[in-house]
Point group: none
Chain length 275, copies 2
DNA sequence: GAAATATCAATCAAAATCAATCATAAACAA
DNA sequence: TTGTTTATGATTGATTTTGATTGATATTTC
């Protein structure tokens, strides 16, 4: 008797590939989805990359980009395309991870302004630190990060980048574990920028994963200055794993109630990015 | 390993169809169920795929799609159909490239068959090793790689993955340098799989970048068994940096001229994947 | 700055897909 | 059986998509 597991599409895929049957191409929708997905992930796409990855002709990819541009899903640039502000807003409606995006960008920009030319910096994995990258261009930086999602963007902007490596956690796209710790210990930083899930007067900075907390803590201890990036939704939240007390890092936040601000200011320096 | 599920006689029927048993076909409602099931799983179906998988004619499949569309169960697009209301966003970003794919896939599959359950393996950065990933599922592996492009795909297939980290070379999407070396030294491998740019009787395995050559060499030295994956275009090519002699790794290749094979076989074990 | 290289938009022929039609095969009822 | 209905597969020409080519434009390199 032969049994087949329909939940495992590997069998399925293999048959198609192995027997080299039809379907060795992408439908128009699939190409469009592929392009947008890649854009979302890397912020920019190159036409030549898309040609290779989708096995479609350059003409077709160009047509795809033209059409997607007319749908305002992306913006064409010489050699490829970039994300428009429009799609970012669409995401923030549906995806939790990118909620409060414009605030994140504001926080990110404020954080980037603290960096001096030639600094060596640590960038935590996460969506807020990701938003800093466009503001890091032409600053002659050396960046160390444990965030896989940052690498491509950093590279796009021509920033010299060291990825720590280690065990990959897909959920946060962060590397953690002993190898990561060992790698970070090789470096010293002028500044480090960390994301957190909770800010609390008493419990300090917290995040769900203890392993990630350990990484953040370590990076901070190896930096001359430490900054935590957060948006107002994190205020008075407490996650499972403590990173450190408020005193150990300065806070950059989009907005904060006055009374909370007063409390926090007793413990650390707080920069509020107000519109 | 093949998993089995008798509860799905749709797939079962389909397999019989694939193996071309005469006289077997699907009833209309079975085809409809099959189409919808596939749609649900893949988000997208191509007409030609359905024709082959159900052994029905193109006309019939078209009629099926037309009817299912009138029932609002799907939406037709040029060349196939998509789920109604569903955005394709959730699809994975695994590379869809099909250029020279079949040789690479064959080599990759042959390589993957050498892996035993529970092995710890090193996967070199590169497109051929990338193609191995779909065949690594459910083998309870630990994979170490210096190839950034492999990480996402490995993760999609649920494979525990350690990335070496280090300095990122965007051209080959490989990490190199001292940090990479240090990271690799933390591990021991049952098998390692390496890509190369040149195979030569006298000059051995070669690749353009000395730093990458050093990584490959190191990984091989820490592995109980080493395999080089190549296609026939690499035969008698010599690149700048030597990795090691032919003797130090076994070769898996799609096809090779007889006289060259004889020469190589005096030095190492060669597995030829071609029919 | 000029030359070399890469990208672009427009065009056209080829290929794939489509809807419509028709003849045949199967399923069904009397 | 016979006739009727339904489903199927093949064919056709129209339509859409695609890939290659071209000369123009932009970018990079020296």
């Amino acid at each position: 008797m032969i049994l087949i597991d329909i939940s495992s599409n590997i069998i399925f895929n293999r048959n198609i590939t192995l027997f080299k049957k039809a379907g060795d191409y992408l439908l128009t929708n699939e190409r469009h989805a592929y392009i947008l997905k890649k854009l979302e992930k890397k912020r920019t796409v190159k036409i030549q990359e898309l040609v290779e990855e989708t096995a479609a002709s350059e003409s077709t990819i160009r047509r795809d980009l033209t059409e997607l541009e007319s749908q305002q899903k992306l913006e064409r640039v010489f050699g490829g395309a970039i994300l428009t502000g429009h799609i970012l807003k669409e995401q923030s409606l549906t995806e939790k991870s990118t909620q409060n995006l414009s605030e994140k960008v504001q926080v990110a920009q404020a954080a980037a302004e603290l960096i001096k030319k030639g600094d060596s910096i640590f960038l935590d994995a996460g969506t807020t630190t990701f938003q800093m990258i466009p503001f890091l261009e032409n600053k002659d930086l050396v960046v160390v990060t444990n965030g896989l999602n940052l690498v491509d963007a950093l590279n796009e902007y021509g920033i010299k980048t060291y990825l720590t490596g280690g065990l990959y956690k897909s959920k946060t796209s962060a590397f953690v574990g002993s190898q990561t710790v060992q790698a970070i210990k090789n470096y010293r930083f002028d500044i480090c920028f960390l994301g957190v899930n909770g800010l609390h007067e008493e419990y300090g900075y917290t995040t769900p994963d203890p392993e990630e907390a350990a990484i953040k803590q370590l990076a901070s201890s190896l930096s001359r200055k430490s900054f935590v990036l957060a948006d107002h939704s994190k205020i008075n939240q407490v996650s499972f794993a403590k990173i450190m007390d408020l005193e150990n890092a300065m806070l950059i936040i989009d907005s904060i109630p006055t009374e909370t601000l007063d409390i926090f200011r007793k413990k650390t320096s707080v920069k509020v990015v107000h519109e």
